[in-house]
Symmetry: C2
Subunit: 249 residues, 2 copies
């Protein structure tokens, strides 16, 4: 199967899974046969909400997505950032009730894939079941890493780390070049990722700019010193368990 014949939507998923597992020709073909219903989601709209019991999973085709929870006390904690190719609600295959929400940080296009189709796929192709397992486990590894960041690192390190993570993941998926990435996320949202207020995020970003680790033009964050930024964030990509990390990481 030459990839030219593959639908670009399905290709997104194949490309993503190939960053964390090794697929064969057969598996790629099977994924390409998945039924998908396209759907556009407005900025700041929930894709799945806390308490839902969805029957489909959402494959991100385009846009930035986050998983989060609102606290009784009014605060919000963002748990992870998701990029095209990710299925942020893959867990609904095995946990029927959502215990958090998924939101579109930008205007987003998703593909809805029925649980039945995905379960069937995993049933028939152990390699794909393995890939799903890995995806979920890497998800958990990201949560742990964020927990360590928020629990034990100062603001400057946390922010640097987050930028490193999103950059590496975007780059691995071919969504960012050498220079940096668009991180279309507000400082308040950054704060909700990192357990900080937007005010403190702002001041710390200025510090990172002053130290020439990053530059920001509007919402585009340009990485000026990749080594330095990794150092500043104590960033070690091991926890992402990438199969083929690009050189220089």
């Amino acid at each position: 199967m030459s990839t030219a014949q593959v639908s670009p939507h399905h290709l997104r998923l194949i490309r993503k899974l190939e960053t964390i597992a090794t697929l064969g020709e057969e598996e790629r073909r099977a994924i390409d046969a998945l039924p998908m219903i396209l759907k556009d989601v407005a900025e700041n709209a929930d894709i799945v909400s806390d308490g839902d019991t969805p029957q489909d999973c959402s494959l991100i085709l385009d846009g930035f997505v986050a998983r989060y929870q609102l606290l009784e006390s009014g605060g919000r904690q963002i748990f992870s950032i998701h990029l095209p190719g990710d299925i942020p609600d893959l867990q609904t295959l095995h946990l029927k009730v959502m215990d958090h929400s998924v939101i579109a940080l930008t205007p987003t296009r998703i593909a809805l894939v029925p649980h039945t189709a995905l379960l069937d796929l995993a049933q028939r192709y152990p390699v794909i079941a393995h890939a799903f397992f890995r995806d979920i486990l890497i998800d958990a590894a990201v949560f742990r890493t964020w927990l360590a960041n928020v629990g034990r690192k100062p603001a400057r390190q946390r922010i640097a780390h987050l930028i490193c993570e999103v950059y590496v993941r975007a780059r691995t998926l071919g969504l960012a070049g050498e220079g940096g990435l668009d991180l279309p996320i507000t400082q308040a949202e950054l704060g909700d990722c990192l357990g900080l207020t937007s005010v403190h995020v702002n001041r710390t970003l200025q510090e990172l700019r002053r130290d020439n680790l990053i530059a920001s033009e509007g919402r585009r964050i340009r990485i000026r010193d990749w080594q330095g930024l990794q150092l500043a964030g104590e960033f070690d990509p091991t926890y992402l368990h990438l199969v083929r990390p690009w050189p220089g990481i």
Copy 2:
């Protein structure tokens, strides 16, 4: 199969899995046939270490266990607490290299179960594969919840929440009665769970005692006001996805 014939070690695992999934007679029998090698682990010894590539999973038979990571800056973050019946390194079935460590908080007895046996089991019994999936997903849900705690809640809430969580899980497994539980964990370790210093943990515990939410006699924490403690911690057990929560939770 009457449970009387089942080895108590295997029963621990069966009981645990039955808190998060529903097993049939056949599955219980298959679990009972799992090969296990018993091993004692000293207090404060690693069961698995960051960077290891183990060939077995560790079923906890007795004792308290934690997963953690050391940071370059010298700090430590604990990610989760594990009780008898848990398999804290289940993820090594699908992620070969450990990205964190597992430590015995108390003298602990574990059973080593070969990956091959577990993978075979999951292959032959979809219900068990499903249970493993759920276990890993619930693990991730715990990480998210801790992340929300550390990121967005003050010390008092964090501590109350942690006590609630461990109590509910211990009680569900039949390891704690109505009155409270042994939480054989130092205040420094509590701090490493919650992103606090031991000094602040100490002061906050005193506050919880003063408010009559808990009482502590040595290391035993007695819960004096279960409703109040849940309230103080904004504790909602949904994220544990228990199949049969006990009444009054």
